[in-house]
């Protein structure tokens, strides 16, 4: 921002710019209440009007885009409350409110209260998904908290009977609008929790204005719903109505009838389901038994009877027998052949033949021996005869017969050949052809 020195001169634009900045910065989003006047919608579709009270007027605009969310049609004379930002349009030097949101004043306060409570409860965790209790699949007893005479209760009973003909309902008649209705609802919720008879609560009410539904937007009812141990389904108003109770409840249905639909499963479909499951069980078991029978049948077919086994063995035995016989025959034949062969060999080597041969040989040898012996004998005999005749020639007796004699010493019978060996007076034996003489040496002529 420019410094405001004494004597400083602004241009219009400059000043306007600063004013615009100041305004828009100071009032970015504000809630304003007042009465509409001079309401006009030109061809552009935007709404131009002035907002006034007893003392002041301010011009305002709401653009077409924002108008789409409006739940009512603004008109001159209507008191409204709205959210806007303040803006300055420089070419005209005028400031105006640009509305984002508009509500009729009365409803507006309720709406604000609603939003405030919603924020508060959200902060406290009342809407947390984790805190939601699960709705029983098949509640044994359902507590219906609603007006005892309204259409809502009848709708719930009808739908419940249709879906589950013998369902058990407890109805807790309460005031659902006007003073004290919120307390009655809270009491009923508490009572259900004390009795512990039912396992589900339906909190229901037919459609109505925002004021009519105020009990369902109260903090006390919200707290009671949040504290309840028994799960709660809300079915309040019409499709588009959302109440605080709906946000806190464990399940929100758009209408009382829808709440009954959500609370109870269709009995017929359940029966059908169980029946079909039973059929499946029967079918499965039958199938199983059938399959097992089939298996057993197959196994029996594959099982060999003892008769067949005996036959098999018999065949095998016969085969072995045959092979054994063949083998023995072959063996005998072979050995017979071998024996014959050996006999032949033996025959060719007959010892009788040898004996003849040997005998022949012996004969030859003996003949040879005889021959040689005789020859040898003759030779020896010849030699003998020769020698004998020679010996005859040398026989001393023959010599003696021719008159020779042999002298020998008497003592040692040594033949005397040399006269020098004899001494005088030695006795000498002289051997003659017939008889012997003992003599004495008288003289030696040497």
């Amino acid at each position: 921002m420019t410094e405001k020195k004494p004597g400083h001169i602004y241009t219009v634009s400059k000043l306007t710019k600063e004013i615009k900045f100041l305004l828009e910065e100071s009032y970015p989003f504000i809630w304003v209440t007042g009465e509409i006047s001079n309401y006009a919608v030109p061809a552009s579709g935007h709404s131009y009007f002035t907002l006034k009270d007893q003392q002041a007027v301010i011009s305002a605009v709401m653009f077409k885009n924002q108008k789409r969310n409006l739940k009512f049609n603004p008109e001159t004379g209507m008191k409204i409350i709205g959210m806007a930002r303040l803006s300055l349009y420089e070419p005209r030097g005028s400031y105006q409110l640009i509305f984002e949101h508009l509500e009729p004043e009365g409803a507006g306060s309720i709406q604000i209260a609603f939003e405030q409570l919603k924020t508060k409860l959200a902060d406290k965790g009342f809407f947390n998904k984790d805190c939601k209790k699960s709705i029983p699949f098949l509640p044994s007893v359902i507590s219906v908290i609603s007006s005892g005479t309204g259409a809502a209760v009848k709708d719930i009973i009808n739908v419940a009977q249709r879906r589950f003909p013998n369902c058990c309902l407890e109805i807790f008649p309460v005031k659902v609008q006007g003073a004290g209705s919120d307390n009655e609802i809270c009491e009923a919720i508490k009572l259900v929790n004390q009795r512990l008879k039912s396992d589900l609560i339906i909190l229901a009410r037919g459609g109505g204005s925002l004021e009519d539904l105020s009990a369902f937007n109260s903090e006390t009812v919200a707290k009671a719903i949040f504290k309840s141990f028994v799960p709660i389904i809300t079915g309040v108003g019409h499709e588009t109505d959302f109440t605080i109770a709906d946000f806190v409840a464990d399940l929100r249905a758009s209408t009382p009838s829808a709440a009954a639909e959500l609370a109870l499963p269709g009995k017929n479909s359940l029966l059908q389901r169980i029946t079909s499951l039973q059929e499946s069980l029967n079918r499965s078991l039958k199938k199983k038994i059938g399959a097992l029978n089939q298996t057993i049948g197959n196994l029996i077919a594959r099982l060999k009877s003892p008769e067949i086994i005996v036959y098999d063995f018999r065949f095998k035995l016969e085969e072995y027998e045959l092979r054994l016989m063949n083998m023995i025959n072959h063996y005998v034949h072979y050995n017979k052949e071998k024996a014959r062969w050996l006999t032949e060999i033996l025959y060719t080597r007959n010892p009788v033949k040898k004996i003849i041969e040997h005998r022949q040989y012996v004969k030859i040898l003996s003949e040879s021996l005889t021959l040689h012996f005789q020859k040898n004998f003759q030779e020896k005999k010849t030699i003998y005869l020769e020698l004998q005749s020679k010996l005859q020639a040398f026989n001393p007796e023959a010599v003696l017969k021719r008159g020779y004699s042999i002298s020998r010493f008497v003592l040692d019978k040594n033949i005397i050949i040399n006269s020098s060996d004899v001494k005088i007076n030695d006795q000498i034996e002289v051997v003659l052809s017939k008889g012997r003489l003992i003599t004495r040496v008288e003289k030696i002529n040497g």
């Binding site: 044994s140 058990c168 008649p173 499951l277 069980l281 499965s284 078991l285 199983k288």
Partner: protein
Amino acid sequence: MVKKKTFEAALKGLEEIVRLMESGDLCLEDAVKSYESGMKQSKYCLDLLDKTEKKISIIAKDNDGSVKIVPFKDE
């Protein structure tokens, strides 16, 4: 309300048994056991569906605070 077994659990059990049997992996003994148990569960479910007595009553507190139960009259 505390019960031994909720309807939903019994129904789930029954469905599981059927699934198991249809898978065909069970031996005969187990299949028969499963079958018996499944039939028991389905009977339990059916009983539970029929057992509930049709009853619609109005429950209100008297002026002195005592709880009063009156049958609901559908005109």
